[in-house]
């Protein structure tokens, strides 16, 4: 993930920094309120079931998403909350950096390294298939590029990083983002069902979710819905995948420049650094500190718990920013290309993960 976003029109006047920060408060409070409500509902359910009353057995992760989905899709989120809702990205990255305390660095190298190999295969295949599907369904070429980048790497963040580099128009960008977000929401509900159906272990399921689900937030949630370990594995695999973002965006930028439809990238090393998701450095640093005995066992537990608190508002944000109506309003062709591409990627990565674990390579 990177801090790149779609540039605002040059005519738009930026309010002062202090005003921008104040504007974050209502939406941030809403994220925390929804996350805490999700946790309270889980606790309430445990209490009711202990007293022989019926209450759905749903974990806080899913409660937070359901509450967010209901608020954003049944009601309309007032404009005052929108700037703060975007801070879900901060809470997500904070949670990821902190969860590194639960990893031994040797495992990060081993599983992350294995994930890198799988990611390289997944990237090559998914970029190829999405490009072919885009041609078959006659999507605009730059929309096809955005969908390919979004579905193969890092979802919305990759699309937003690519938009200025390949100079796609805002309509294509909005369509690609809406398609990727809507498809990510579908993964939340289908992947755990498939995992249980196939009796997958926590580790292979988590790596599968990290390799197949596009957005970091949705990949984290899809893993966490299966279990704590699956959630951490999904983060590790997804982080390895996100590390490729610069290379893929650079590849597309060079291609579109060669077609005379985008500016040339002059300083490629600087471009790669700008697109590199820097929070990964924080993840690696904390994992190393945790592995060399810098923290006691109790302190590591505290850091792990803090990461759960950070993920609460991030999970709420996943629900709040997902608009299911985009599945029908963006036109059927981008969605169909997205659905077919995602099914291909899900099956490909599932096959790879099962093959790796079947042969014991990951033990």
């Amino acid at each position: 993930m990177s801090a790149q976003t779609i540039p605002l029109p040059s005519a738009a006047r930026q309010p002062p920094r202090s005003q921008q920060l104040l504007a974050l408060i209502p939406g941030t409070l809403l994220l925390f309120a929804i996350g805490l409500a999700g946790k309270a509902l889980e606790t309430f359910g445990i209490f009711l079931r202990a007293h022989h009353h019926y209450f759905p057995r749903i974990e806080y992760v899913l409660w937070a998403i359901i509450l967010g989905l209901v608020i954003s899709n049944v009601f309309s989120v007032p404009a005052i909350f929108r700037p703060g809702i975007a801070t879900y990205e901060l809470w997500l990255k904070l949670g990821i950096v902190l969860v590194a305390a639960k990893f031994v660095f040797a495992d990060v190298l081993h599983i992350g390294g294995m994930s890198l190999v799988l990611v390289a295969i997944e990237l090559t295949m998914s970029l190829t298939v999405m490009t072919i599907l885009g041609k078959i369904f006659r999507l605009p070429p730059k929309l096809t590029s955005l969908l390919a980048i979004g579905s193969s790497i890092c979802g919305v963040t990759a699309i937003m990083a690519a938009q200025p580099a390949i100079e796609s128009d805002e309509q294509d960008t909005t369509t690609a983002i809406a398609a990727i977000l809507a498809l990510g929401a579908l993964a939340l509900f289908t992947f755990p069902l498939i995992g249980h159906f196939l009796h997958m272990g926590q580790q292979p399921y988590g790596i599968w979710a990290g390799l197949a689900v596009d957005n970091t937030a949705e990949a984290t949630v899809t893993g966490a819905l299966y279990g704590d370990l699956a959630g951490r594995m999904a983060i590790l695999a997804k982080t390895a995948r996100s590390a490729f973002i610069g290379f893929v965006v650079l590849g597309y930028a060079v291609y579109w420049a060669s077609q005379g439809q985008a500016s040339r990238v002059e300083r490629k090393a600087l471009f790669l650094w700008q697109k590199f998701p820097k929070f990964i450095l924080g993840f690696i640093a904390l994992s190393i500190l945790a592995s060399i005995g810098f923290f006691s066992t109790g302190q590591l537990t505290s850091l792990g718990n803090l990461s759960k608190w950070a993920f609460l508002p991030a999970f709420a944000g996943v629900g709040l920013r997902t608009r299911l109506r985009d599945l029908v309003t963006q036109g059927w062709r981008p969605i169909l290309v997205g659905v077919l591409g995602e099914i291909f990627i899900a099956l490909l990565t599932l096959g790879m993960v099962l093959a790796v674990y079947h042969h014991g390579a990951a033990q």
């Binding site: 993930m1 990177s2 801090a3 976003t5 779609i6 605002l8 920094r17 921008q20 920060l21 974050l24 929108r82 700037p83 809702i85 975007a86 801070t87 990205e89 901060l90 990255k93 904070l94 990821i96 950096v97 902190l98 305390a101 919305v156 937003m160 805002e170 309509q171 960008t173 909005t174 983002i177 809406a178 977000l181 998701p277 820097k278 929070f279 450095l281 924080g282 640093a285 904390l286 500190l289 810098f294 923290f295 109790g298 302190q299 505290s302 850091l303 718990n305 803090l306 759960k308 608190w309 709040l320 920013r321 608009r323 985009d326």
Partner: protein, 39 residues
């Protein structure tokens, strides 16, 4: 068409902020300023 929420630009660098907050908490926990965070 209304732009989806995630295209909003944050007024700060989320990566740098996340690393800064995480390392600050890690230091406070390591120095026992924060004794325990439960879940």
């Amino acid at each position: 068409m209304e732009s989806p929420t995630p295209t909003r630009k944050l007024a700060f660098n989320a990566d740098a902020a996340a690393i800064l907050i995480a390392l600050t908490f890690a230091a406070l926990i390591r120095l026992n300023v924060i004794h325990r965070i439960s879940w």
